[in-house]
């Protein structure tokens, strides 16, 4: 009696096991591949992120929070906000203008122009910074002229930091808008114009609402990069403490002081940037999930 198998369970089981879609892998293989993905992403991407936050509170919450009353840290945070507040709108205006010119008209060399706009992505940030040092440095004709005649210092000063940031974040907004506006064509604008709207009205009331989510997406990525840029800014800033040091540079300066408290400060500032990255990722994922159709072209980069 005890070794009588429960009949219904046996008869229903084989049917579930036998059928397997011919266009997917066996269950163990699927689980293995998912396991590998989770393990690699966890080990290489998530663990470093977690360690930033853990290292920040290594000596307790007090020293971590004390970082934010350090005058150098505070000045770095303000400078980073200032730089992003200049660089992002500049590239926003450029992105809209470039997308309008490239997507709404047909002229020879459009594809080439798009490649030129993407160029800063393939330039190493350090080389980007260096390019400006070589152009505006105090020993170059242009740099010497600006300094002597106008008293304007670009290299090892805030304007240089802003310019380097503009360079490295240059394509972000344009490259989100161009493919989308090309997909949307010119029908809506032509309709608005033929009904008597002016050019600006057409832009504000027709074009802008059509691309607003892609625009937000581009601004988000542009801002994340602007606030986090290290290489280009490191070359051009001269790292004058409290003057030209942005948050990523201040992280390096704190990190290079081998005191435990400075280490905590480095990781506390890093935690702020990591938090910013997380917020960026959440909003980005939300935009991709909620407005996928209005970003359609952007997912294909």
């Amino acid at each position: 009696m005890a070794d009588t198998p429960p009949a219904p369970a046996v008869s229903s089981r084989p049917e579930r096991i036998v059928f397997r879609s011919p266009v997917t892998e066996a269950r163990p293989v699927r689980l293995l591949l998912i396991g590998i993905s989770v393990a690699v992403l966890g080990l290489f991407l998530v663990l470093p992120l977690v360690s930033v936050f853990v290292q920040a509170v290594n000596l307790g919450l007090g020293p971590a929070l004390a970082t934010f009353s350090d005058p150098e840290a505070v000045s770095a945070i303000w400078l980073t906000l200032l730089v992003a507040a200049i660089a992002v709108p500049c590239n926003l205006v450029f992105g809209i203008a470039a997308a309008w010119a490239i997507a709404k008209y047909r002229f020879p060399g459009r594809t080439f122009l798009v490649s030129l706009i993407d160029l800063p992505f393939s330039v190493s940030p350090v080389v980007a910074g260096l390019v400006y040092v070589l152009l505006f440095g105090p020993f170059t004709p242009l740099g010497a002229w600006l300094l002597a005649d106008f008293g304007v210092r670009i290299i090892f000063a805030v304007p240089g930091v802003v310019m380097a940031t503009i360079f490295v974040t240059f394509p972000f907004i344009a490259r989100e808008l161009i493919p989308l506006m090309q997909d949307q064509g010119t029908g809506d604008e032509e309709a608005a114009l033929s009904l008597g709207a002016s050019g600006w009205q057409t832009f504000w009331r027709v074009t802008l609402p059509n691309v607003k989510w892609a625009l937000l997406y581009g601004v988000l990525l542009c801002n994340a990069r602007a606030m986090g840029e290290f290489g280009a800014v490191a070359v051009i800033s001269g790292k004058l403490r409290g003057e030209t040091v942005t948050v990523p540079l201040q992280i390096e300066l704190f990190y290079q002081e081998f005191r435990a408290l400075a280490q905590v400060s480095a990781f506390s500032l890093a935690a702020i940037l990591a938090g910013l990255a997380l917020v960026t990722l959440v909003i980005k994922s939300w935009l991709e999930w909620r407005y996928a159709d209005q970003l359609a072209a952007t997912r294909k980069h």
Partner: protein, 279 residues
């Protein structure tokens, strides 16, 4: 009077304004500075140029950087393919989260990644302490550089392969299965070939990014000028040059390398368009 027309006629206003601004801004921010870099290089005569860009330390740095970048990009192709496949083909709890995590290296500033990875892999770190009993040091060695380059390059392969895989027609696979192909044959002979352009593009993007990388590598390489045993990232060299034309020469070499990779990517795309009809 016939006038050569640059653009096709359109009733939409604002071409001059937007096109003019685009070109002006592009020239001021990107083109003139880059051309300036190459012009600066011409202040050197040829033998001096060759002498600078073939300095033994610089060549050693290039070798290390290219080697580590190749290994990292290769690793990223294998792992990136698996991750892209899992994200596109399987439905499981946490898939959306995994998808979002892939973009982390794009969003996380490189300096943050650099100190975080270093903290993990120093001998007293969470992961470094697992390896130090085996006599393996990761931080401040080429292995550490490789890990940083894997970190920054991973999303490139996933994000170039993923859309191609999403567009892939499942019916082709069903046809292969109907015709008697096993799963392995189907994947190797039917699924993989159209993915090759995307894989190559992802590889080239990850490699290009790795060669020019500074932020994350500089921390884990523990670079202190003229003291560290392993060569620094090659981008550091122009920074150590006190003489501007020499710095420009090295930077111009690095820039040319990245332009060549960019050209290669465009050739792959063009070939892919001809061969498979997709980007």
């Amino acid at each position: 009077m016939t006038r050569l027309r640059f653009r096709e006629p359109s009733i939409i206003p604002g071409f001059r304004l937007t096109f003019g601004f685009t070109i002006l801004y592009l020239c001021l921010i990107v083109l003139i500075p880059i051309v300036g870099l190459y012009v600066k290089t011409f202040e050197l005569d040829w033998p001096r140029f060759v002498q600078i860009v073939t300095g033994p330390r610089f060549l050693a740095a290039l070798r290390l950087s290219f080697g580590a970048s190749l290994l990292a990009a290769t690793f990223n192709v294998v792992v990136g393919l698996i991750v892209a496949w899992v994200l596109v083909r399987y439905r499981f709890i946490g898939r959306r989260l995994l998808d979002a995590i892939v973009d982390l290296p794009f969003a996380l500033p490189t300096a943050v990644a650099g100190i975080a990875l270093t903290a993990l892999y120093v001998p007293s770190g969470w992961l470094g302490s697992l390896f130090s009993p085996l006599g393996v040091t990761i931080a401040y060695t080429p292995i550490g550089i490789w890990i940083a380059l894997v970190f920054i390059g991973l999303p490139f392969v996933v994000r170039t392969v993923q859309p191609v895989l999403e567009d892939f027609d499942r019916e082709v696979e069903e046809a292969a299965a109907t015709l008697g192909a096993g799963r392995r044959t189907t994947i190797l002979r039917v699924v993989l070939p159209p993915l090759i352009p995307a894989i190559l593009t992802g590889f080239a993007l990850a490699f290009a990014r790795a060669v020019g990388e500074y932020g994350s590598v500089i921390f884990i390489a523990g670079h202190i000028p003229r003291q560290t045993a392993i060569p620094p990232p090659p981008t550091v060299f122009p920074l150590e040059e006190r003489y501007y034309p020499a710095a420009a020469a090295i930077a111009a070499v690095m820039l040319t390398v990245s332009f060549l990779i960019l050209l290669l990517i465009n050739l792959i795309q063009a070939w892919s368009n001809r061969r498979f009809g997709n980007g």
